[in-house]
């Protein structure tokens, strides 16, 4: 790809990014068009990936080489599509039952070992110390906090008994542990979202350089111009609505 294409690419990327950001000011045709473009392009990307990395090497090539066993999963896979034709939609059940049966059979024992047995074991394991000393005191205490908090959270989510007395107290402790978890998750989420925004701004900054003929600046100015004009041409009520 030539240099011209790279510069053009910069304009496309900067333009699409700014169109999507324009939603922050208010819903507008540029945003809507770009959003729909995203839906289509995302699907197109998956389509070409599956076409060139699954269908051709896993179905077409074995078939040409005479391996007809791949027809069985192919038919099962294609049967899924009959869902869109009400009269024969029952055919899709064959594909679905295969996926669901296999998936459920695989997941049940693994969930039992990974999320169930091992987590109980992990909660108990900090208590496996040969003696209580200065060195083992803190891990032991932390282990006890995890175990107590864990049980209290489970009490909070226990629906078979009324929450009264000691159970009520335990469930109150449980909710505070949940809040600490949610708080930590919130803090992390803030960081994660900012990182993504930083990434976009970083790209926009790159495209604002002279090498790309100031793509970001030009497109941004054009968008602002559009909003100013549309503000004066359309009725005032609309603008108030969007200010929510």
């Amino acid at each position: 790809m030539s240099e011209t294409w790279m510069i053009f690419g910069g304009w496309v990327a900067a333009g699409l990014t700014l169109f999507l950001f324009s939603f922050l000011y208010k819903d507008n045709p540029f945003f809507k068009a770009t959003e729909h473009l995203y839906l289509g392009a995302g699907m197109g990307w998956v389509f070409q990936t599956v076409l060139y990395q699954t269908w051709i090497p896993k179905v077409w090539e074995p078939l040409r080489a005479g391996d007809f066993y791949v027809l069985i999963p192919t038919v099962l896979g294609l049967s899924l599509v009959t869902q869109f034709f009400p009269r024969i939609s029952w055919v899709s059940r064959y594909g679905f039952t295969f996926i669901m049966g296999y998936g459920s059979g695989l997941v049940i024992p693994l969930t039992l070992s990974t999320d169930f047995l091992k987590q109980i074991g992990g909660t108990i394991s900090p208590f496996l110390v040969s003696e209580v000393s200065r060195a083992t005191f803190w891990p032991l205490l932390n282990g006890a906090i995890v175990a107590a908090g864990f049980v209290c959270v489970l009490v909070y989510f226990f629906f078979s008994v009324e929450h009264k007395g000691a159970i009520k107290k335990a469930s109150t402790v449980g909710i505070y542990f949940l809040m600490l978890y949610f708080g930590a998750a919130f803090g992390n989420t803030v960081m994660g979202r900012f990182s993504l925004l930083y990434g976009r701004f970083d790209d926009l900054y790159k495209y604002s350089g002279a090498k790309y003929f100031y793509a970001t600046h030009v497109i941004l100015a054009a968008l602002v111009l559009y909003f100013v004009i549309s503000h004066f041409t359309s009725r005032k009520k609309e603008a108030e609505e969007e200010a929510a």
Binding site: L112, I124, F127, L154, A185, A243
Partner: protein
């Protein structure tokens, strides 16, 4: 069967070893001695698909630093070196297998040999020969060759704990399903449901509408199902107090179901005259457009109460924020952990994860929802009991030095 055989061979070996060590005079401590390898044994590796062989021999005083063991295997022709390791390593006790399937012996060397890695023409069931060689400087010793054939096993005994737990869960599951269908199961009232009454009461006083969003989930997802049950409850109260209800929708199928649900609720309250078909209306099947439109409506109409109950993703932020700035009472509920913090900080009451399901099951009395909840409760009870008694026993066993109890507990709660 196999285990007993192993045990038996191990005991004979042990006796032989003790006899040998007794025979060696104590003064020869510093002079390297060759170990007695007459206890060398080879057998099929248990609980595998039939590609490995287990060789074992007793540990002894000859296992000093600097000494190595070499294990050889042969399919009939030349001997191939399969393994070489320091003499004070690799014991039967090192195997990560549970106590019910393996005897963890510290006085026995044990090595698992993966035969396909050694023989390109490997076949399960074929007999192979094995021997072990001890090398410590100039001192060497070699065992007599022993034959063994790997065979495929039918059950992985190590995973017994997993299987037992699964069977128990299946039994409990069917028990709850049959009970739920026959006479229903007890589920406690969820505190969040009282908050719903309060919110509707306030909306009636203020004469402003109520917004109820079922989220962006499809009708097949559990949170959406739970949400429609709660919507039915809300609609009943609304019909009773003659308040205005608005339910903007993301999914047309969910909308069709909700129309039925709301109509049914008005009918039960005998207020069908005030039911309107436009209580439920379609907005957009596009995440952000949906959020933006609902935001606009909330901003314009300033509802007294907003409900956001169901499956929510990023739009939770946009929705809850606008509701909070217009001063509405907000009640939220979702199973999405990542959205819960936002709901929790900007809403007055939030149903967290399973609470939402429980509220749905409590209100709908649907046997399937109830039974799932009951099995989950059973699982939680099992976990609570395991953690409390397990931790207590572990601590007690540590104080009183009961290694057996420690071993049993740590082996049960492990995956193999």
């Amino acid at each position: 069967m196999l285990k007993t055989r192993l045990n038996l061979s191990f005991f004979t070996v042990l006796f032989a070893a003790s006899a040998v060590s007794a025979a060696v005079p104590a003064s020869t401590k510093n002079i390297p001695t060759a170990p007695d390898l007459s206890g060398f044994a080879a057998a099929d590796m248990p609980y595998d698909k039939g590609e490995a062989v287990l060789v074992s021999w007793p540990a002894g005083p000859a296992d000093v630093p600097g000494a190595v063991y070499q294990v050889y295997a042969s399919s009939g022709a030349a001997w191939l070196k399969a393994e070489e390791f320091p003499a004070e390593k690799k014991f039967a006790a090192d195997f990560e297998l549970p106590f019910w399937a393996w005897s963890h012996d510290k006085a026995k060397h044990a090595v698992q040999l993966e035969l396909p890695q050694l023989f390109s023409d490997f076949k399960t069931g074929m007999e192979y020969s094995f021997k072990v060689k001890y090398v410590n400087g100039k001192v060497t010793a070699e065992s007599a060759p022993v034959k063994a054939a790997p065979k495929a096993d039918l059950f992985n005994l190590a995973r017994l704990n997993n299987l037992v737990l699964l069977l128990v869960i299946i039994v409990v599951f069917f028990w709850t399903v049959s009970h739920a269908k026959r006479k229903g199961l007890f589920i406690r009232r969820i505190a969040g449901l009282d908050a719903i009454d309060e919110a509707i009461g306030r909306a009636t006083e203020m004469g402003r509408p109520i917004f109820y969003s079922t989220g962006i989930g499809a009708m097949s997802s559990v949170p959406t199902i739970a949400s429609t049950s709660i919507l039915a409850e809300v609609a009943k109260k609304v019909a009773q107090y003659d308040t205005q209800l608005k339910v903007p929708h993301f999914d047309p199928i969910v909308m069709t179901v909700c129309k039925e649900v709301v109509k049914q609720a008005y009918m039960e309250m005998e207020r069908l005259d005030s039911y309107r078909d436009d209580i439920n209306f379609f907005v957009s099947q596009d995440q952000f457009s949906y959020a933006a439109s609902v935001d606009g409506m909330i901003h314009r109409e300033k509802p007294a109460a907003c409900f956001f109950i169901g499956h929510f993703m990023a739009e939770s932020l946009l929705l809850a924020e606008v509701g909070a700035t217009t001063g509405a009472i907000q009640i939220a509920g979702t199973e999405q952990e990542s959205q819960l913090p936002f709901f929790f900080t900007s809403c007055d009451y939030t149903l967290i994860g399973e609470e939402l399901y429980a509220a749905g099951a409590y209100l709908s009395k649907e046997p399937m929802l109830q039974s799932t909840l009951k099995v989950q409760d059973f699982g939680k009870a099992f976990v609570m009991v395991s953690v409390i008694t397990g931790s207590a026993l572990v601590m007690l066993a540590t104080w009183l030095k009961w290694p057996l109890v420690l071993k049993v507990i740590s082996h049960i709660f492990k995956a193999y």
